[in-house]
Amino acid sequence: MTGTSPLLPRTAPPNRAATPPTSPAVARVLTVLKYLSLVGASVVMILPLVVIVLASFKTSDEYSSTGPFDPPGSWLNFDNYATAFNDGDMLRGFVNTTIILVISLAGTVLIGSMAAYALDRFDFRLRKVVIGLFLLATLVPGVTTQVATFQIVNDLGLFNTRWSAIALFLGTDILSIYIFLQFLRGISRELDESAAIEGAGPLTIYFRIILPLMKPAIATVVIVKGIAIYNEFYIPFLYMPSRDLGVISTSLFRFKGPFGAQWEVISAGVMLVIIPTLIAFLALQRFIYNGFTAGSSK
């Protein structure tokens, strides 16, 4: 690629091995610079979150009389969390998000793996055409077609139901078909072929052999897709305007009205949304890194 030269970092990584070009003094300076840059970047990443944590424990008076970096008087003041959870409809948001998440993920795994099974394990006349259709669809950015998708969701009678989000999460997901296809291609056919010789039908093979073999790919899809659904704003915002159907994104978005300048309550709402993500990240770190690397490069 021609445009790479501006991307080169100014400071070369320090040279630890005792190779001639860099003297020990220079190497030490470079090491210090390296750690400075890492610490600096970490501060930039963490600071905006830390102030939210601080604000979420402050009382309203405290908030207006102290600066953003001042610690709260009590670290056990969970009033803002209670307000956000109850008055801010976050509870309902979590319920709706969970319902949509579970159904969409189960559907995605089934649909994606079935499509991958058909495309990888069968020879049929329109195979190339079907693959082409899926490929071509990846070129269409979802955000551009919402204008027309809206009419379809409306015509199907899904507008203002949870099914609108579920249908769209299932219907526009080509990434998981890719991940499954890629994974299935790496699995030897021996097992399913010998099952077929013993007389097992395609459905039996799919459920008894293919699906269990695909566990690692299923984990990847569930993680990548799960995070995307948990964080999705546009689809629920556009298709589920009813207050009762608020998901966590849209519920938090609605904080802007009633809680206007009550930053301590908004901060608590933000924390309520982030904490599950943080727990999932800490628990599943390795899978998450692998999932994103696998999901985006294939």
Binding site: T22, L38, V51, P68, L119, V147, T172, T250
Partner: protein, 324 residues
């Protein structure tokens, strides 16, 4: 600004990847490598029925409809759609205020250069031995996982007068440069593009890091024997080794910059000069009920993004991004 690979769409995958290599694995013994036929000819179609139906209903029909609506003056409600020819397209290109919002994207394009450079820098230094490596990796990546609305709120507070940024500037004695970060049309897009870098840098970083770590280790050792320092290793091993993923990230960053929606919409609803093309399209369709004009705008964006993707295929023809 980088479209996340998780936004329901697969990223533009290199052309070769989805067509499986039909070369059969060499079977042992005498068995001829041939496929055992399963069920009847209809079986694969039955498995594909639901995926294809969804693909048609939620991708192809909307795209076709979009083209059709774009030559009508439909308002989204009336039962009839009046054909108006190319009027909507003429309107887009002759009303400067409609097309001008594309310039807002340039802030995000510029920011994505910085974003990719920073991601490449941190991926490179963290691919070598560094203390607290996993901690740094986690800190740099975590923002990418955070809910977009939460990020919007965090940065509204960050940029609010007397908020995080102003206080931090005060601590280092630079409060002189404090201003209405989100209220001033001259700075608002810098603030929002910065937010976007904060959000998406971690993804690029982790992708680059994964690619760097998949470079065979003996290459570094051989280079070190030849007296190459870290800079040489970066220049002649790492950079060529991860070129495909850099190219792909670059294209995704640019097409993502043209389709920016969440951050400016969540934070400001496009106010103060932060309106992007997508926000304008959404408002045109769902606020002003001009479905015809909005569809034409969506078609224009689609064509531009397809063009960029096509250019990418030309520039990086058959290079597969292979990280595993």
């Amino acid at each position: 600004m980088t479209p996340t690979p998780t936004t329901n769409r697969a990223p533009a995958a290199p052309a070769g990847t989805a067509t499986p290599d039909r070369a059969q694995p060499s079977h042992t013994g005498w068995r001829r490598p041939r496929r055992v036929s399963l069920g009847n000819a209809a079986t694969p179609y039955l498995f594909l029925l639901v995926p294809l139906a969804l693909l048609a209903v939620f991708t192809y029909v909307p795209v076709a409809n979009m083209f059709w609506y774009s030559v009508t003056s439909w308002n989204g409600l009336s039962p009839t759609k009046e054909y108006v020819g190319a009027d909507n397209y003429v309107e887009i290109f002759t009303r400067p205020e409609l097309f001008r919002v594309f310039w807002v994207s340039l802030y995000y394009v510029g920011a994505s250069f910085f974003q990719l450079a920073a991601a490449l820098y941190f991926a490179t230094i963290l691919s070598f031995n560094v203390r607290f490596r996993n901690l740094f990796k986690g800190i740099l990546f975590f923002p990418y996982l955070i809910n977009g609305v939460a990020i919007g709120m965090i940065f509204l507070y960050f940029f609010t007068p007397g908020g995080t940024l102003d206080t931090a500037l005060g601590l280092i004695g630079a409060d002189g440069i404090s201003r209405q970060w989100l209220g001033d049309p001259d700075t608002v897009n810098f603030s929002l593009a910065g937010t976007s870098v904060w959000r998406y840098m971690g993804l690029n970083f982790v992708l680059f890091l994964g690619a760097i770590q998949s470079i065979p280790h003996h290459l570094y050792e051989a280079a070190q024997i030849d007296g190459a320092n870290r800079w040489h290793q970066f220049r002649y091993i790492i950079l060529p080794g991860i070129r495909p993923i850099i190219g792909l990230s670059f294209i995704l960053a640019i097409s993502g910059s043209l389709a920016v929606f969440e951050i400016p919409y969540i934070m400001l609803q496009g106010a103060n000069g932060s309106e992007t093309f997508v926000i304008q399209t959404v408002n045109m369709a769902f606020k002003f009920h001009k479905i015809g004009l909005a569809s034409a705008m969506a078609v224009v964006l689609l064509v531009i993004i397809l063009l960029i993707t096509w250019l990418q295929r030309r520039i990086v023809p058959d290079e597969k991004v292979n990280l595993s």
